[in-house]
């Protein structure tokens, strides 16, 4: 794909802990095109957040180690880049982050306006597009853009919100502010880490609507991690499923739900409570990452598992345009796929 924005290849990350080395990411591949909304789906502990943090370069330095792999973003290898340059040029500017918890993401002792001004001092897109501007001119121009964007995320009374402290606004409004702040530096990629998990359903619907609309209008790519397949269905173009540190299937949203091919994806869809499925779980437990199963990490819980699954990790097989699966015994083989 010539339009690819970010390509993660064979990424291996391990965490040192008292109990041993946990292999949290085990050779993960992920590609996101420009302006594409990619869902990263999986249960807790599958490595979604670690992958998001590895892309941002904010893995905890004392325990996490990147053992292999590359992350190419817009023509540069992020893992090979100098840390200071990464912080100055990429993080927060070209790759923005929307955290899961809008309650702890703000500093409680400064007003929201002050915190947005601080952000713009370092990450304003005008720093690059109009470097000759004086600081005062720039901050005036930025202020107008800030207010515009706050209106776009449908915050009531944008001027008033800037004078408030974080505790004075509701959770839904804080998440709107987070989206606005992520988009202000005009990033190419936004990483949204479970942005609606802490919110109620009616507010979740509003936030998803705004995020999708703004990403579309501005051509921003989004990496949207979630454990909720329903929200992934709402806003994603493509979905990648992870299990215990490995990506197992990647598909456009329509074929993902219509023709899931990996047994884990199938079981994940079946475990959604619904009147047809009743209440169905997945037998077995998520493996410990300190001593993970060999080969395909899902094999101990899989009915289709064979000797091959224990031996080697399945390669990425293409099933159709943009639909790939890593399984020795996929539910839908390449010739059957539409």
């Amino acid at each position: 794909m010539e339009s690819e924005l970010i390509a993660v290849r064979n990424l291996r990350v391990s965490f040192a802990s008292d109990a041993g080395l946990a292999r949290v990411l085990d050779g993960v591949d992920l590609t996101i095109g420009r302006g594409e909304i990619m869902g990263l789906v999986g249960e807790s502990g599958c490595g979604k957040t670690t992958l998001a943090r590895a892309i941002l370069g904010i893995l905890p330095g004392n325990s996490a180690r990147i053992e292999a792999g590359s992350i190419r973003f817009d023509g540069r290898d992020l893992l090979a880049m100098d840390q200071d340059r990464l912080a100055r040029e990429v993080r927060g500017k070209e790759i923005a982050y929307i955290p899961q918890d809008p309650f702890t993401a703000f500093n409680p002792v400064f007003t929201i306006g002050t915190q947005i001004d601080d952000l713009m001092r370092y990450k304003s897109p005008l720093l690059r597009s109009a470097p000759q501007m004086s600081r005062r001119e720039r901050s005036r121009a930025d202020r107008a853009r800030v207010l515009d964007l706050l209106r776009l995320v449908q915050l009531p009374d944008p001027e008033g919100v800037l004078r408030k402290y974080p505790h004075e606004v509701s959770g839904g409004q804080r998440q709107r502010l987070m989206i606005a702040m992520a988009l202000l530096p005009e990033p190419k990629l936004v990483i949204a880490d479970e942005p609606t998990t802490a919110l109620d359903v009616t507010v979740q619907a509003q936030i998803l609507k705004i995020l999708k609309q703004l990403a579309r209008e501005r051509g921003v790519a989004v990496l949207f991690t979630t454990h909720d397949l329903g929200t992934a269905y709402e806003i994603c173009d493509r979905i990648t499923v992870m299990y215990a540190g490995q990506e197992v299937e990647e598909a456009p949203v329509a074929s993902f739900f219509a023709q899931p091919s990996h047994p884990y994806t199938r079981k994940l869809l079946d475990s959604l409570p619904s009147s047809e499925n009743g209440i169905r779980g997945i037998a077995g437990e998520i493996p410990r990452l300190i001593d993970p199963p060999s080969g395909c990490r899902f094999h101990p819980r899989c009915e289709r598992a064979s000797e091959a699954c224990r031996g080697t990790r399945p390669p990425r097989d293409a099933l159709g345009p943009a639909h790939t699966v890593r399984c020795h015994h996929p539910l839908i083989a390449a010739e059957q796929a539409a």
């Binding site: 249960e43 807790s44 009531p156 509701s170 839904g172 409004q173 109620d200 359903v201 009616t202 507010v203 979740q204 619907a205 509003q206 998803l208 609507k209 999708k212 609309q213 454990h227 909720d228 397949l229 329903g230 929200t231 269905y233 709402e234 806003i235 739900f257 079981k267 994940l268 869809l269 475990s271 959604l272 409570p273 619904s274 009147s275 009743g278 209440i279 169905r280 779980g281 997945i282 437990e285």
Partner: protein, 322 residues
């Protein structure tokens, strides 16, 4: 419902004082405001609503963790709302409360056996052998081997701790269990295991559940009836199927419209409800939902609607619901 309900709640309110920095009372937070409902023996009643709607406060007030401001809670024929904790203890033995993660309330320095014996020591006069027998029976019912009795909480997995927590609640043979958000924060595959356990236990022990949750898809599957709360009031109550298929109250309608439906039209293309719930310390006049309601009329600001029983299996508190 023909038989006498096992739990009857009448006009129950719980108001918390709101104080300024000098501890002067400057208002009331009406967390639960004039709630009435009945629960029949053996049914699962779901209580749903968004955060801050008072569903947990309702559960805790029923349990006596909060003292009711006014109203009655008639449990197995006794009004327990106004009683002091020590007076109501003997009635509340059969009314149990299950927190979000019942496993988290185990004492890390006690063996599973001690934790399971404790409620029996507090509430009953059973001898040690009889207690041990009861404990083993319950442990089997929640699907754990008896060898676990001598282990400490850290030696078993989180899921097993949850089961022990449930066993602890069941040792007193409760008739009503209040489950407060029992599945939130769980992954779908684990959630199914826990829900099936609840249903198995309900059948085995003839339990009645009050299932407090914000997860509507789970409520739809396991509850017989459902009550929808908004800002301390029940706005709609009725048979699960009726409420989910033909919601009458505009709030219930928007709540259901907000759930993503895989394969259906996308909520992000159609969802219309604006704004967020107002603060419960400063409620709007009349109907509490009118500030966000697409159907609001002048009447809604003047008069608070009561629950109307205009439909066969459901009641809704709205002037204009049809």
């Amino acid at each position: 419902m023909s038989a006498e309900p096992i739990l009857r709640v009448e006009g129950l309110s719980k108001h918390f004082p709101v104080r300024n920095v000098w501890k002067r009372r400057i208002g009331w937070l009406r967390a639960v405001d004039d709630v009435s409902l009945e629960v029949s023996r053996g049914e699962i009643l779901g209580i749903v609503g968004e955060s801050g709607c008072g569903k947990s406060t309702l559960g805790k007030t029923l349990m006596g963790i909060h003292t009711a401001t006014s109203g009655h809670v008639v449990f197995e024929g006794h009004d327990i709302a106004g009683l002091k904790p020590h007076q109501s203890r003997k009635y509340r033995e059969h009314l149990q409360y299950c927190y979000q993660d019942p496993g988290a309330s185990l004492d890390p320095r006690w063996t599973i056996r001690s934790s399971l014996h404790e409620p029996l020591i507090v509430h009953t006069a059973l001898k040690e052998e009889q207690r041990e027998q009861r404990v083993r029976e319950i442990l089997r019912a929640v699907g754990l081997p008896e060898t676990h009795l001598d282990l400490y909480p850290h030696e078993i997995s989180g899921g097993q701790q949850r089961r022990v927590g449930l066993a602890r609640i069941l040792t007193l043979k409760p008739s009503v269990v209040i489950l407060d958000e029992p599945t939130s924060g769980l992954d779908v595959s684990v959630q199914a295991t826990i829900l099936n356990l609840f249903l198995d236990l309900q059948r085995a022990f003839g339990l009645t559940y009050l299932f407090i949750s914000h997860d509507l898809s789970v409520v739809r599957l396991i509850c017989d009836r459902v009550a929808v709360m908004y800002l301390g009031r029940i706005v709609e109550i009725g048979a699960t199927q009726a409420v989910f298929e033909t919601p009458r109250h505009p709030y219930t309608q928007s709540l259901l419209a907000a759930i993503p439906k895989i394969g259906g039209p996308r909520v992000t293309d159609s969802f219309a409800l604006e704004g967020e719930p107002p603060s419960p310390t400063n409620l709007p006049s009349g109907c509490r939902f009118r500030t966000r309601c697409p159907m609001a009329q002048p009447l809604c600001a003047e008069q608070e609607p009561a629950l109307r029983a205009d439909w066969p299996a459901q009641r809704a508190a709205c002037h204009f619901a049809e």
